[in-house]
Every structure is written in C-alpha cells, then in structure tokens.
C-alpha cells in the first residue's frame, strides 16, 4: 500500500476485534489529509483559493493592462473583446483592476491573519500558562478590547493611520488577534495540567520550554483552523474599510474599494463594476470558510475515525 492510499484509515475487513472497530494506524498528517480530502467542499474551497491566487498574481503577467495611469476617455465601457469586464469610472480595465485588487485583498488577508494568530497565540498561551493575576489582567485587556465593536475599532484605527496596504495589515491585525488569544488561552488552561507538562516541570524544564515545546505545538489544531477563518475575516475587513472609504489610496485598489466604486453607478446599469468584485469577495471568503471547516474536522480528534 502506498503512503497516499486513501483507504489507509478504513476499518479492517473481517471480524471486528474485541473492543470495537479497529483502524490501521498511519502518521498524524496522513490521517488529517485523508479526513480533509473527504470533504468535497474543502476541495472546492482549496481550488477557489488556488484560482484566486493564480488570478491575482499570474493573471497580470498574461493579461497586461495599464493599472497605474487612468484614461477617462474610455470610462464606463461595457464588456468587449478589448475589455472583457469593461472599464471603470476613470477608464481602468476592470478585469486588470480585479487582479490588482485581488493582490491587495489576499495580501492583507494572509498577512493580517498571520499577525493576528501570532499575537493571539503568544498572548493566550502566556496568559493561560501564567495564571493568577497575570492571566486576569491579560484577559481583562482582551475582554475590554473585545467590547469595542470590531467595525468601530477598524474605522477608528483606519482614520488615524494614513492607509496603505502595510498599514491596513497592521490595523486589521491589531483588532483581529483577540479571538485567537481567547481560544489559545482556553486550550492552554487544559494543557498545562497534563502529565507531560507536569513531567517537564518536574525535570526542571523552563517556562519558555513548556510554552514553546509543549503548549503551543499542542494547540496547533485550534490555531490552524482559526487562521483560515482569520484570513476570511481579514478579507471582509479590508473590503469593509475600503467600502467605507478608508481603503488604500489610488492607484492601488482592492476588491472592497472596487465594489464601493461600482455601487456608485448602480443606477447607471454598469453591472460589470459591481458583480465581479462582489463575486470575488464572496467566493474567496466562502472558500476559506470551507477550508476552515474541513481543517476543523480533520484536526479535531473526536471527529477523526481511528
């Protein structure tokens, strides 16, 4: 049997052994991948994500358009061979604009998610492991920040900073780390009393070693699942900010900004300014959610068949 044999996790044929169903054992990652790929929506989601990445980054290499300097003389042209998705209000090719906007949206989405997860994991793990007054203070800070509505915090930070892609990443990351912090703190509270953690302490292992070698690695399931949702949330957040006019300044753009611009012309019937950007946001966010759902199934021990 090859390592990639998808039947690796199936029950053994024949009589059931005493004690219930038995499963062939495999490596943890093989098991996870197998469960993940059993989820058809996850495969669709993964396909969409790959497509969007290729569309945004490889697309401009194939379909070359002018996205730095506009040309109002060709504003609001409908779809044609020259401009498959028409042109926008200042004459940018809309298909090329979607590709450029996709780069910004995905970059902000991934980078903000990474920041949120990194900060959240460390904060939550330290808080949970330390316990006592440190835990109380750290988590009250999280609670206080969570009490501020997400959108209000984003708008406030977006208004303070002069928006660029980098600043959008920081702004969204600063707001988004709170949920992973709570999740990881909860996991840590459970993990810190496990025998192997106690054993490390008995053997004189440092707190840092406990944290980085035993606690955080064992929360990876929670982290990975949350990270996928964080990407989706960050894409929505950057779209929202841009929709509200706090996005990246031109000639940069992102899907939210494109959608916002397009909606200004909703009564003019310029559908090509609205649907493509809206569809790109929806598809990408849904795709990340599909992947996140499947990862949760795959990484959740209780849902795995062994």
């Amino acid at each position: 049997m090859s390592a990639a044999d998808p039947t690796a996790n199936l029950p053994l044929a024949g009589a059931l052994p005493e004690g219930g169903e038995g499963y062939r054992s495999g490596s943890m990652w093989r098991l996870i991948l197998a469960v993940f790929f059993e989820n058809r929506l996850a495969i669709v989601g993964l396909g969409i994500i790959v497509f969007m990445v290729l569309f945004s980054y490889v697309g401009p290499l194939i379909y070359r358009t002018q996205q730095v300097f506009n040309n109002p003389n060709i504003a609001h042209l409908g779809p044609s061979l020259a401009h498959p998705l028409g042109t926008d209000q200042v004459g940018y090719d809309n298909l090329g604009r979607l590709m450029l906007g996709g780069q910004s949206s995905l970059e902000v989405g991934f980078a903000a998610a990474i920041i949120a997860v990194l900060v959240g994991v460390i904060w939550g793990a330290v808080s949970g492991l330390a316990g006592g007054i440190v835990d109380t203070i750290m988590m009250r800070i999280v609670d206080a920040m969570l009490a501020v509505p997400f959108l209000v915090a984003l708008i406030l930070l977006g208004a303070i900073f002069t928006t660029s892609t980098l600043e959008l990443i920081v702004v969204i990351g600063l707001v988004a780390w709170l949920v992973p912090a709570r999740l990881v703190r909860g996991e840590t509270l459970s993990l810190r009393v496990r025998e192997y953690v106690q054993a490390v302490r008995v053997m004189g292992g440092s707190t840092r070693r406990v944290l980085f070698r035993h606690i955080i690695p064992n929360t990876v399931g929670v982290i990975v699942v949350n990270a996928t949702f964080q990407v989706a949330d960050a894409i929505i957040a950057v779209a929202t900010l841009s929709f509200l006019g706090i996005g990246v300044p031109p000639p940069a753009t992102n899907w939210g900004g494109e959608l916002s611009n397009g909606l200004s012309y909703i009564y003019a019937g310029y559908w090509w300014l609205i649907y493509p950007a809206g569809l790109a946001i929806v598809l990408t966010v849904v795709a990340f959610n599909f992947v996140g759902d499947a990862l949760r199934d795959a990484l959740e021990v209780r849902l795995q068949r062994r």
Binding site: V68, F69, N70, P72, N73, A75, Q89, V90, T162, G245, P249, P250, P251, N261, L263, S264, Y265, I266, Y267, A268, G269
Partner: protein, 647 residues
C-alpha cells in the same frame, strides 16, 4: 448720496437682467398653483458636510455654506440681505433687517437705520444688537487679540476678515438712536464695495440674551470693552482696533469665546437657550451631532413672507450615493442627483420630482499651501503653477465626471450668470491655461527640472536664474505633493484620481491623495497658515467647492486672495494683487470700478493663485414637484424656506 443708487442700479440692472434672461431661457415660468400651509420640507445636506457651527461669527475653520448660508442664516439673518428668489446677486432690501444705508461726507460716513423688527422672544432688534456684533468682530479680528482656543477647538474668529478692511477701516461706530447708528470710515470708499463686502458682514445678535461670559454668568455689557478704538500702529492708511480687546474670559473677546465654545458643543444645540433667540424665519427645534437639524417657524419673525410650512428638516448623508438612495425612495423634498446618476433624471421626474440645477455666484478652486516649508517654495513659482494648471483637464472633467454640468474656471470672477458684467473679456472668452501636457512639460524643463514622465521629476538646476528652479528650491527637490480632498462625492473623487494620474504620467508630479470629511478639509485649509506660522501638514486641500461670493457679494476677492485674509487658505500673497484689490475698494465711479475689477481678475487669471477647477452648480437639485417657492434658488447658495409651500 448720489453714487450708491447709480452703482446699485448698475449691478441690479446688469446682473439681474442677465439672470432673468437665463431663468427665462430655462423655461421655468409657471402658473401659480393653489397652496396649502403646513407640511415638512426635508432638505438633503451635502455628503459628509453636515452643519457643525451655529454662531454666525464663524472663524475660517467653520466659514462654510453648510454652516452659514444653509443653516445659521435661517435663524440669524444678516443686517443686509443679498440675493433673492430670482437668482440675482443684488442687495435685497425687503429681506433685510436694515434699510438701505446712506453714505455722506464724501463716502466717509455711513448712516444705518433698522426696521422695527423683533427677536423671537419679543424683544426689539436695535442698534445695540448691531453694536454688539461690531464689538465682538472688532475684538476677534484685532491684531493684538490674544490666542484663544486650541487646535482641536479653535478660538473665535471671522472667516471674512481681511487685515485693514472691515472693521479696521472704521474709525468709530456708535448708536444714534434705538434703531439707527453711524460709522465713520478711515477713507472714502466705493459705496458699492462697502455695502456689498463690508456692511454685508454684519449680523445683529441678541445682546440682551448673549452678552455673557459663561453659562452661569449674568447678562452684562461685557462687549463694550471693545467699543473705544485706537489706531493700529504703523498702519497706512490708518486703521483701527479696540483699545481693550479682552481675553478668552473677559471683555468682548471673552463673550465671543463663550459663544464660540457653545457653538462648538454640537450635542447641546437642542436644549441650549442661547440658540432659541433668533431673528430669522426659523428656530432650531432638534439637532443631532450627526448633522440632523429640524427647524420650525419663528412665530415672531418680523420679515415677510412668514413661513407657512410646519418644519424645515436638514438630513445628513455620508455619500452622494446614500443621498440619492433617499431621493429615489422619495423621502426627500429637496435633494440632489449626483452627476453619475444623471441618467435617472427622467425616472425621478416621472415619480414627481422637478430638476433644477442650483447655480452659484462663485468659482471652484482649491488652494496651494504656500507656507509649507518644503513644497511651498515650489508652489510659489509661477511657472510651476502654470504647468500644474495645464494638467487640469477641465473640459474632460465636465464631460466625463460632471455630466456636462459645469463651466471651465478661468479666473476668480464668476462667469455665471451668463453675461455677468463683472467677468472680464479675458475670463469670458475661454481658458487662459487650457489643458496641455506638452506645455506643462516644457515649462518644467525650461526651469531646471528633469522631467520623468511616470516617475518623479527632480530639480537639477537649482538657483534663481530664469532657467533655474527658483528661490529656496534645492538640487534634487522632488515634485511630490500631498493632496487632501473631501470624501463623499464620486465626481470629486474621479477628478482627483484623473489629475493624480495625469500629473504623474505626463510630468512626473506625484500627488499622494487622501480623503477626509468636508469639515476636516476646510479645517486643514483654513487653520491660519501664514509665513510666520507655516503649516507643514498639507500641500493642497480640495473641499470640493471653492468660494461663493458671500458675504463679499461684489467679487473683488479680498476675502480669499488678499494677503492675510482669514479665508486665504495657503496664504497667497502678492503685492500687485493686493494693490489691484485695493483699487476696487476706492473706485470713484462705475467706469473706474469695472476697470479696476477687470485689472484684478485678469491678473489673477494669469497668476493662478489657486488651482482652478470646473465650476459646477452647487448641486443638481431635484425637488418635489408639489413644492412651491423653489423655482429659483439662491445664487449665493442661500435657502429661502420661508417661501416654500405645498400645493
């Protein structure tokens, strides 16, 4: 006084005649329908530009149409009203608290009489209420006035102030009776200019209700500290200011600061008894910090006509798209159709709206910040301003972004109403600096710049010779500027993005765009930047409009382009221009007046003190067809809801 009627007649006959012709050409003549009293008129405020100041004495930060013409003046009407419902830019005696003033002693003395009008609380509007304004105005514009307020809450000021002009050109003022007063001027002035641009600044305020230093303090005569006047040292001709200005908590300045701070407290408008004493046709009933304002008729309004609607409501919107959605839903009585939605005009007309573009007696522009330490020296160069103006494709903006509603701006004097006699032949005959990419490049190249289309142009020949970059411009200096503009308008956004693209693509001029609410933009542009106190936070600021000539109804430009003027954003300063403006103030007859005006405007058409942008209607108004009284809209962007009724 012989001169006034003649000049006034000239302005009335000339400007009003062309306005009437224009209106007639629009075919707006209608038969008088049957009307009913009552009903609420809901008016859409400009996107992201809600009213944010109610005190009529507004500093440059708050000196806007949304705060004054469309809000405060509905409650506090000026002593002399200009404009009417026939869109003529003329003095309107019928709507004024004051009678037409007379000038004597070779136009060095002004005699003012008031009609016997009343405040909303039943008290008479007297000369004391005019003196109250004069005392506070003198205090807040005095060169010796101490700094009051902070950057986030500016102290009191006056956006129409010009050093040496009103009220500093008044030697003394005093009441000669309950309803009369006199002013002695420091020179003989052109009566047209003095009435249209100086006396026009006066708004009587309820001294008996407002003359206090704190909410707890008793009403007094604190403002009179500023009544006694003295010459301003080293002024020529001699100008005057109060002997005792006061401080932030004493005297006339203290009263102004108290009223200013109350006006900055938007959350208290609704219950603040100060704002319940009004002279205008309406009184504030509800107000929110978001800009929602509900006004109801002032039952004691002394003017005519009396309001017949039951309420006038102003609704705020963050974007023109949001406003248009409300218009489509039929929830607005008076709204605007954004240029990008002009295709919906016919549909709205079918659903009961009437289209009526609201033209203004003004021009559209945005200022350079000449005081900016790094970029200011570049923008001070005429060749740069010529090059930059040559990159503004006004014809294209009008065609592609403004649905054809607009005219290119050639200079500071409006070309509307069509045939406006104030507009010189040079201004009327077309663009002085039309769009020309090649001219922009050649101008920069000829003055020592290494032009990099698509890149960043740098100075390679520093120095002050004719073919060098200019004074205080170092080798390697870059043509990179920050341009702040008002959010909420799609047309303005498109204009700014097109300009940004053209400037960089053609001439290597980098414009870094950022947006903010209207109030933020004008707060930035008019925060008192001078060469002695320069501002480094912005290079150009575009609030999406320009200037409507109010309260400087005679368009001589001193309030926006004169050296040191409060509304001179960026502090443009040019001695020749100042001299030209001054000549319009002292012209002794109609011919001299027009000649001086033409000299002034032709000079600035070529000097480009600001970036001229297409002048558009104030808004493309859509109003409910059963609303009467809106056939003609105020040419100074003012509102006349006391004329409204429903049929």
């Amino acid at each position: 006084m012989r001169h006034i009627p003649k000049l006034s007649f000239w302005r009335m006959a000339g400007v009003a005649a062309v306005a009437a012709l224009f209106v007639a050409a629009c075919g707006s003549t209608t038969t008088t329908p049957k009307t009913t009293s009552g009903g609420t008129v809901t008016f859409a405020e400009l996107p992201s530009a809600p009213p944010s100041y109610i005190f009529p004495m507004a500093s440059g930060t708050y000196f806007s149409v949304t705060n004054l013409s469309d809000f405060s003046q509905l409650m506090y009407i000026p002593l002399f009203w200009f404009g009417n419902t026939s869109s003529s830019p003329v003095f309107n005696s019928a709507l004024s608290i004051g009678n037409q003033p007379t000038f004597t002693d070779n136009n060095t003395v002004v005699n003012i009489t008031l009609k016997h009008w009343e405040w909303s609380n039943g008290q008479p509007i007297t000369s004391r209420d005019v003196i109250f304004w004069m005392n506070m105005l003198s205090a807040v514009t005095a060169p010796t006035a101490p700094a009051v307020g902070s950057s986030s809450a500016p102290g009191p000021g006056w956006g129409a102030a010009v050093p040496g002009d009103f009220p500093q050109n008044v030697v003394s003022y005093s009441a000669t009776g309950t309803y009369s007063l006199t002013m002695k001027l420091n020179a003989s002035y052109n009566p047209t200019w003095f009435l249209y641009n100086e006396l026009s600044q006066i708004t009587p305020l309820p001294q008996a209700s407002w003359d206090e230093l704190s909410t707890a303090g008793p009403i007094g005569n604190y403002d009179t500290s500023a009544a006694a006047r003295m010459p301003i040292p080293n002024s020529s001709p001699t100008t005057y200011m109060p002997k005792v200005v006061g401080t932030g908590s004493t005297g006339a300045l203290g009263v102004a600061q108290f009223l200013n701070s109350q006006s900055q407290s938007l959350g208290t408008y609704q219950g603040n008894p100060l704002w319940q004493v009004v002279s205008g046709p309406f009184v504030l009933k509800d107000f929110t910090t978001a800009g929602y304002a509900k006004m109801v008729p002032n039952k004691n309004y002394s003017g005519s006509p009396k309001p017949t609607i039951s309420a006038f409501v102003e609704e705020p919107f963050t974007t023109d798209t949001a406003e248009f959605n409300a218009l489509k839903a039929g929830s607005l009585t008076i709204g605007a159709i954004p240029a990008q939605d002009i295709t919906q005009k016919a549909l709205l007309e079918k659903s009961g709206y009437t289209f009526n573009p609201w033209y203004s007696f003004g021009f559209t522009y945005f200022p350079y910040n000449f005081t900016e330490p790094t970029t200011g020296p570049i923008m001070q160069q005429l060749y740069f301003r010529q090059a930059f103006q040559s990159l503004v494709n006004q014809d294209q903006y009008i065609k592609d972004f403004l649905a054809g509603y607009g005219v290119p701006t050639n200079g500071p004097v409006p070309t509307y109403p069509t045939g406006n006699p104030d507009a010189s032949p040079l201004e009327s005959n077309g663009l002085v600096y039309p769009y020309s990419a090649s001219k922009a490049v050649s101008l920069l190249t000829a003055h020592g710049w290494s032009v990099k289309p698509g890149g960043l142009t740098t100075c390679t020949k520093p120095g002050t010779a004719a073919d060098e970059c200019g004074k205080n411009i170092a080798s390697g200096a870059q043509l990179s500027f920050r341009l702040l503009y008002a959010q909420g308008s799609v047309a303005l956004t498109n204009e700014m993005e097109a300009l940004q693209s053209t400037a960089e693509q053609v001439a290597g001029i980098k414009l870094t765009l950022s947006t903010g609410p209207f109030q933020q933009v004008i707060g930035t542009a008019f925060n008192g930047c001078t060469f002695s106190t320069p501002c480094s936070g912005w290079d150009m600021a575009n609030w999406g409009g320009g200037w409507v000539y109010s309260p400087d109804y005679f368009p001589t430009g001193g309030e926006i382009l004169g050296t040191g003027a409060s509304s001179n954003g960026g502090d443009y300063s040019n001695p020749t221009n100042d001299h030209n403006i001054q000549a319009t103030h002292t012209a002794s007859n109609q011919t001299a007046e027009l000649k001086a005006l033409f000299t002034y405007e032709d000079y600035l058409a070529q000097q480009l003190p600001v970036v001229y942008m297409p002048t558009t209607p104030y808004q493309l108004t859509m109003y409910k067809s059963n609303l009467n009284g809106l056939t003609h809209q105020g040419i100074f962007d003012e509102l006349y809801p006391q004329f409204y009724s429903f049929s």
